[in-house]
Structures are given as C-alpha cells and as structure tokens.
Symmetry: C2
Subunit: 329 residues, 2 copies
C-alpha cells in the first residue's frame, strides 16, 4: 500500500496533538514534561486507564478517527458510571510503522471531535512507533464531589436494577463486522457495527445519579458478568427479567432471525451503558433526572439477599447461560 510522509515524534506532537491541549494552561502546549492540573475545591480526582490494541479491541482497517474515539470513550464510560465529570486525559499512542501523517491526522481529528462532544481536553502523553501492532492507552481524569462517587459496592437488598440505552448492540456489532450476521437490513447492520466501533459513554447521566443510585458500573464485560461484579461487591443476588432488557430495533430483528443470540446480547459485552442500583423510592427522581440528561433508562430487575445473577424469561423460567460465569443462582 502506498504510504505518505511520516514525521518524527516531536513534529507529530506539535502538529497534531498540541492543538488538542491548547486551552488548558497547565498542559503547557505539551511542550513541558508534565501537566499541572488544579482540582475545584471539595472535589476528588477519579482516574481510569484502559488500552485498546489492534487485532484485539479493534480491527486493523477500522477508520483511525473511530479507533481514537473508542480509545477515549471506553475510559469516559468508566468515569461516567462513577458519577464523575470527565475533564482531562493523557494518551500513550504506539503507532504502527506504516501509519503515515494522514493516518495520525485523522486519529487526532477523531479526538478533537470527542473533546468537543464530551468537554474533555488532552493534557499529556507519549507517542512511539510500535515494534508490532498498534496500541493506544488512555488515562482519563475526572472529578466528583468528595466521597460522593459511586462504586460497585453499596447496593442494598430490594434495590431496583437499571441500565441506560440498549443492551447487546456492541457484541452483535462485532459479529456484524466479522460478517456472521445474515438476513438483516443494511441499516440494521450499520447500526450494530457503529455501536461496536463507537460506544456512547453516558457522561450526561452519570453525575445525575449522585445521591440517588446506591451502586453503579459501566457494562464492558457483558450485562450478566458486570451485574455479577456489582452483586459480588455488594454481597447480593440479582434477578434480571429478560423481557425488560432494552433492545434496539436492530437487536430485536437479529433475535427474531436467531433467538440463540440472546446469550450474546446478555453476556457479550462492549455495551458501555451504565448499570446501576437504586431504591424503589427513587424511581420518580430517576425518571426526572434521566429526562434532564436526555438518556433513556430502563428498570430490568432487582437485588435480593444471596449470591449470583439469575435471568428469568417472560414466563419466569430461569435461563441457563453457558457463558457469563455468574449464573450460580
């Protein structure tokens, strides 16, 4: 493949990445060794780091804009689920040898778009030429009112379980990328692929959950596994009513064609929706706040004393899942 100019590290940083740091004085135009960041009074720092690797978390020929945005968004999703407001991020970019300046420019454009969308700024990082496949680590920094942040623990028996958005699109989208979903309309395929490539971190809702939700996390390992994590940390059991799990029209159409894919929906992961627990008495407040945040939420089940996650179908019959690891109800 014909490849264009490849500038050196300093030049790439100055040309493509320094503009992303322009309006944070403490980032010092990425020309110093560290960033200096001031936290608003009464806030604590919330930190998350996650890496995505070529061939593992994204496909080699995915558009660079989307790779960049995914690397950032999977981290913003974690901050959002803790109730934090994302503010800054750092990037370790290990570009592939044949990533030319045009590729890097497109990657940086992706970041610029998401900076505007989520009001976050690049404050530091490092770029190298990878000796193998490309890899991108993002460290996201947010703030939350001190001691108010949400955790996996903290849920109570009797709490309702909620999710934002729709479940399963990411995992079905990966199948669609691999060409193993058949019978869907092109725009349904496109919807699922887009949801896999570009998750939507629920940053608008997260901080609205403070003082209302008792526990929260984002769904990256799969609904059942992540609910398992919440249950384990909170010392509780969960029951999900399968019929209540919110699905996109594309996911619904997929399940009509292949009902066995319900397991992929429930356990596949890559949802990047917020899963949270809240007392029944908070239902009205939650409804109001979700509307304020323009983020759909759905109650899908409840927590009880005990251990493990149980999924029941419309008839109340437990569903046996072969994957998920948390079905010991």
């Amino acid at each position: 493949m014909a490849r264009g100019k490849r500038s050196g590290e300093f030049e790439r940083i100055a040309r493509y990445f320094a503009p992303l740091a322009a309006d944070v004085p403490g980032a010092r135009e990425l020309r110093d060794d560290c960033a200096f960041l001031e936290l608003p009074e009464g806030q604590e720092l919330v930190v998350k780091t996650d890496a995505i690797a070529e061939g593992v978390h994204y496909l080699s020929d995915d558009p660079p804009e989307l790779i960049a945005r995914k690397a950032l968004r999977v981290n913003l999703s974690d901050l959002a689920a803790k109730g934090a407001v994302p503010r800054w991020y750092l990037l370790n970019a290990a570009f592939r040898r044949d990533h030319d300046d045009a590729w890097v420019a497109a990657f940086a454009r992706g970041l610029a778009k998401d900076q505007a969308e989520f009001d976050v700024r690049l404050v530091g990082g490092d770029t190298i030429t990878a000796p193998g496949p490309a890899q991108f680590s993002v460290t996201a920094l947010g703030t939350v009112r001190a001691t108010w942040g949400l955790h996996r623990s903290g849920a109570h028996a009797g709490d309702d379980i909620y999710v934002t958005g729709t479940i399963g699109d990411g995992a079905l989208g990966l199948l669609a990328c691999r060409g193993t979903l058949t019978g869907l309309k092109p725009r349904q395929i496109e919807h699922l692929v887009q949801r896999y490539r570009l998750p939507l971190p629920r940053v608008d809702l997260g901080h609205h959950l403070l003082g209302v939700a008792n526990a929260a996390l984002d769904i990256s390992d799969g609904l059942v596994a992540d609910l398992g994590h919440l249950c384990e940390s909170s010392g509780l059991a969960a029951t999900i009513e399968e019929a209540r799990v919110p699905l996109s029209p594309a996911a619904r159409a997929t399940l009509v064609l292949n009902p066995a894919l319900i397991e992929t929906v429930l356990t596949g992961g890559d949802d990047y929706e917020i899963l949270f627990a809240a007392p029944g008495s908070a239902a009205k407040v939650l409804e109001h706040r979700a509307r304020e945040a323009r983020t759909p939420i759905t109650r899908i089940g409840s927590l009880t004393a005990g251990k493990g996650v149980r999924v029941v179908d419309a008839a109340g019959k437990p569903r046996i899942l072969s994957r998920g690891g948390w079905t010991h109800s």
Copy 2:
C-alpha cells in the same frame, strides 16, 4: 523455552497487582473501575505518562523486575524534575503471550520494591496479552504546592546550570549491553549496565528545588538536547564547560580508552538526572538542600541571552557535536 502457568487477567490482577494498591483506600483493591484520590489542600496535581516497549526501550531478556522498575522510574523522574512529590501511578501492561505467572510475579516484585523506595502506590491499570512485543505504559501522579511547580521555561540570563549525579552512564550502559564497550573492568561494565537498566529518579532532591531553581527538567533525550529544550522554552543560550560535567569512574575510564565517546556522554540520553537553572545567589542554599537530600549536584555552565547550546572544552574551545541538534551557537 519451557513456560509455566498463565492465569487469566482477573486472577493476575488479584494475585500480583492488588497487593500493590492495598494501602490506598480510594484504589478499592483494584476491584472497582476507577480510583478515587484526594489531593491535600493547596496542592495541584502533576501528571506524566510514558511507555516503554520491548526491543525499543529495553532488551527482550532484561529481568522482569528491572523492566517494571524502569517503566515506573522514567515517569517518577519527570515528576521529580518538576518539584513534585510522586504519590500514585497507574499501569497499562501488555504482557507477551509467553510471559507466564512467574514472569508477572517478578515484574510485580520489582514494582513493590520501588513502591517502598519511592513511597508511591499503584491505584489502577489494565493488563492485556499483547498481539506483539510487550509494552508497559505508566501514568504517574504527584502533587506540588499550587503554582510552585518547575517548568522548562522560567530560567534567567545569568543563571547557573546544574545537574544531579553523573552524566552519560545510561548511554554508555546501552553500548555495554550491546557488547560494544571493550577494555573496561567487569565492575565498570556492571555499573554502566545497571545505570541503563535501572535509572535513579531524583525524587529526594526535586521538591527541595522549589523556590530556589528557576527552571528544570529531567535528562532523558541527552544533556545537550534537554538543555536545548530548556533554552528554547526560556528564550536563552547556554554554555556547558565540558570539564565540569560530572562523570562516574566507569565513564571516565571509558573516555580514557575511547575519547570520541564524549559525544555519547553529552548527547546519548537515558540519564534521568535533573538539569536545572538557578541564580548565582542561590548557590549556598542549593548546596545545603542537596546535602539534605543526599543528592550530589554540580554546576556545569551558565545561561546568557541568545539561542542554542555551546559546549566548550578545558581550553575554552567550542566542541563540534555531530548529534544533539542544538549546537547552533
């Protein structure tokens, strides 16, 4: 090569990495999605991230303890040079497929040693199996009295230029690792190799420079290049007196055998010493603080109006360097 057991990601985190986060409550035993960190009042956050890749920044058969410590130390070195006290770090580890549990355990032991030595704690991270060579990104978080942090800019014409420790050992150590240094005694080789593999971030001195030094950075690109960065940011020129540049006995012995290696010493990098500028009037205070911090410092030259870095030999004659890029005096 025979390889041992390889546990899954969750098990590795629980067994090898969670103990490193045990005494930071906000790290939540690495069992939540984010870390929650409180900054002391009046302090700002100082952040740095840097990655090291197998075959680029370290050699494939380097001991895992030393790889881990180097990944951490190159970041601590930056914080130290800004006058910050390092407090926490996050780790993105992309282990190689054949890194077994024993390898990971040794890697974690290296981190534990340095946590004790530098009083920092792991608060989060991510481990994946790399599709290619291994790679480790560290994000280091420190604190400094708000607005007091040191930058590359800020130096004044007339300031003296100082360095900590000795210069050139890291770059000569890399040559020694490659077997291209001959004629040295085994313990001299060992000294240089050790300095390449395990830099010593000057964390004890850094915060002692606050209120005394006008500008500072750590030497990673090479003395001449990094002094060039300081000059460019401060809008000044520098003259280094070559005879004053502090050398270890092993580096001295190397130069006796091969005087041309002076260029490697001055431009080779991997020193991880602090380079700083301070007014002549601060000399006595600096001497006192360096003694307090048990860190040797040496005045190697001075700053004037102008542009570029000039190195002069014992006779006052400018040395022409083929590398360094900053010799346009």
